[in-house]
């Protein structure tokens, strides 16, 4: 616990600290044979879009392995720091690990360097983790395709990014969805943005949340790997927002009310 007592230099890089303490996620891969038959739980549909006050990030709760439903209460939208969220699609084991590393990375930097990491720095940190994970992704055991949403305090602007599994980042100005259910709803998002009552970025929080829950229900209709809401079990999708005040998750009670009002024709 005290091995770093005499450490004087510090760049604020949490990955450096992890290496000093002997952590190396890649070492388990060195002798791993390729195994195509292996079935690993995977995440499914997450989406995010700009609305009037910031960004809405939403995800279903199901994790599957092949045809088997492994888990129905998976939290695929994860807080990274006070103003950032990551939404995951892909292998949860890798994605949760990445989220944990990223979260510690940003907080460690902020606390040690006494300044918030730049948005560009944050965006590249996730890209670096994905690049380090390429071997795992290529072996079919760790592909992750995340979304990253953050509010840049200096620029006073909310920013949204989509990543491919190799680590390329793409800034999204309107909307994005990823995971196996995303093809079913990307067209709907574009349609809503172009020809809906108002562009997505002009919609209120209520409208944005209602659209999110409807989109996830739609994805679940066509994609068996996306879980539907089950109000009888108090099981709802995860919805969070990012504004200038930071991230905030919608509570179960609020979700119940949003679900009720959204599941009828408006």
């Amino acid at each position: 616990m005290i091995e770093n007592f005499d450490q004087t230099h510090n760049s604020g890089d949490f990955l450096e600290l992890l290496k000093r303490s002997g952590y190396n996620p890649q070492r388990v891969l060195s002798d791993l044979p390729e195994n195509k038959a292996l079935e690993i739980p995977q995440g499914t549909t997450v989406l995010a879009f700009h609305y009037k006050e910031g960004i809405i990030v939403a995800g279903d709760r199901r994790a599957t392995a092949g045809n088997a439903i492994m888990y129905e209460r998976c939290d695929k939208v994860i807080p990274i720091d006070g103003h950032s969220l990551m939404a995951i699609a892909g292998v949860p084991a890798t994605a949760f690990e990445m989220a944990r590393i990223l979260s510690h990375n940003f907080e460690y930097y902020r606390r040690s360097q006494l300044r918030v990491m730049s948005t560009e720095g944050k965006v590249r940190a996730l890209s670096r983790l994905l690049k380090d994970n390429v071997a795992m992704a290529m072996q079919g055991v760790g592909a992750v395709s995340p979304l990253f949403a953050t509010f840049d305090i200096q620029q006073e602007k909310s920013l949204l990014y989509f990543y491919d599994m190799l680590g390329a980042e793409f800034q999204i100005l309107t909307h994005v969805a990823t995971g196996s259910g995303s093809p079913m709803i990307r067209g709907v998002l574009e349609h809503e943005n172009l020809w809906g009552s108002r562009p997505l970025e002009e919609r209120s929080q209520e409208e944005a949340m209602s659209l999110s829950i409807r989109l996830l229900q739609t994805a679940a209709q066509f994609d068996s790997a996306t879980g539907q809401a089950r109000p009888e079990d108090k099981l709802y999708p995860i919805i969070a927002k990012i504004t200038k005040d930071g991230y905030q998750f919608v509570s179960d009670e609020e979700m119940e009310a949003i679900y009720k009002s959204s599941m009828k024709r408006s």
């Binding site: 005290i2 770093n4 004087t8 949490f14 460690y108």
Partner: protein, 262 residues
């Protein structure tokens, strides 16, 4: 040189005197509870007194800035490695001190060929039950835990006075503003009391000489706000976020100044 026991004890005793003298002018850091968590603050001529260590832990330090920085980084490294490898719930001040910092500080202090750390630290934490806890750790690794708040100061008379006042005040029943204002007024009282005592002592000991540097230090809150930086950090257990630490902004400090420094 140190082969005889009494020589070693003499060396340790000299070290204590040396460190205490060096810390003598260190300005206090006060940590008290309030109805939603804890608040920790300190005035100082230079910024760099109050810091965030982990989600639920704040640090206030006094002493040599390089030593404060080194021990702050040690705490940060320990807390983040532990929080990542286990969980945020396993990162507690008790563990960081008892199994990390305290033995290392003691060892450093007793290795008389090495330069001692010139430092005192106050740590505040919101525990898993949502209660505020305060810890004080000395340059020689000795640490204590307090429920009702605590203080560190270079001058032991100031520490004793403020600690007694803090123990006699039910800060946990006040809201943040009230608790902070009350703690600031205690700081001012201690400055005034200290100044009077210093003047009396200097007259009786050497006739007329008064320590000019001590004479020029701010005594009232108004003077302190004008000449020094006030750093305030709040740990609030009702934010709904995992990080409970928040430093008061410049605007909030200005509002506080207009309220208390009249």
């Amino acid at each position: 040189m140190f082969e005889e026991p009494f020589r070693w004890m003499e060396a340790i005793s000299t070290r204590h005197s040396y460190v205490r003298e060096k810390l003598g002018k260190g300005q206090p850091v006060i940590g008290v509870p309030h109805d939603e968590g804890a608040v920790i603050f300190g005035f100082s001529p230079q910024p760099g007194k109050i810091f965030e260590i982990y989600d639920r832990i704040a640090l206030g330090g006094l002493g040599h800035p390089a030593d404060v920085e080194r021990l702050r980084m040690t705490l940060l490294d320990m807390a983040h490695a532990e929080g990542f490898n286990r969980s945020a719930q396993d990162v507690t001040i008790g563990r960081l001190l008892q199994f990390g910092l305290a033995p290392a500080l003691k060892q450093n202090f007793e290795e008389v060929q090495r330069a001692p750390y010139l430092i005192q630290m106050l740590l505040a934490e919101i525990n898993q039950e949502g209660e505020a806890e305060f810890f004080r750790i000395n340059y020689d690794g000795y640490w204590e835990k307090f429920k009702k708040g605590t203080v560190i100061a270079g001058d032991s008379k100031v520490t004793d006075y403020l600690q007694k006042e803090i123990e006699n005040t039910d800060f946990a029943s006040f809201n943040l503003d009230k608790a902070l204002q009350l703690a600031l007024s205690l700081w001012e009282e201690s400055r005034k009391k200290n100044k009077v005592e210093d003047e009396l002592e200097s007259v009786t000991e050497d006739g007329s000489e008064v320590d000019e540097e001590a004479e020029n230090l701010p005594v009232t809150l108004a003077e302190a706000f004008d000449r020094w930086n006030l750093e305030v950090a709040v740990l609030n257990s009702n934010t709904g976020r995992k990080c409970l630490y928040r430093a008061l902004s410049e605007n909030e400090i200005s509002v506080l100044k207009s309220t208390v420094a009249k």
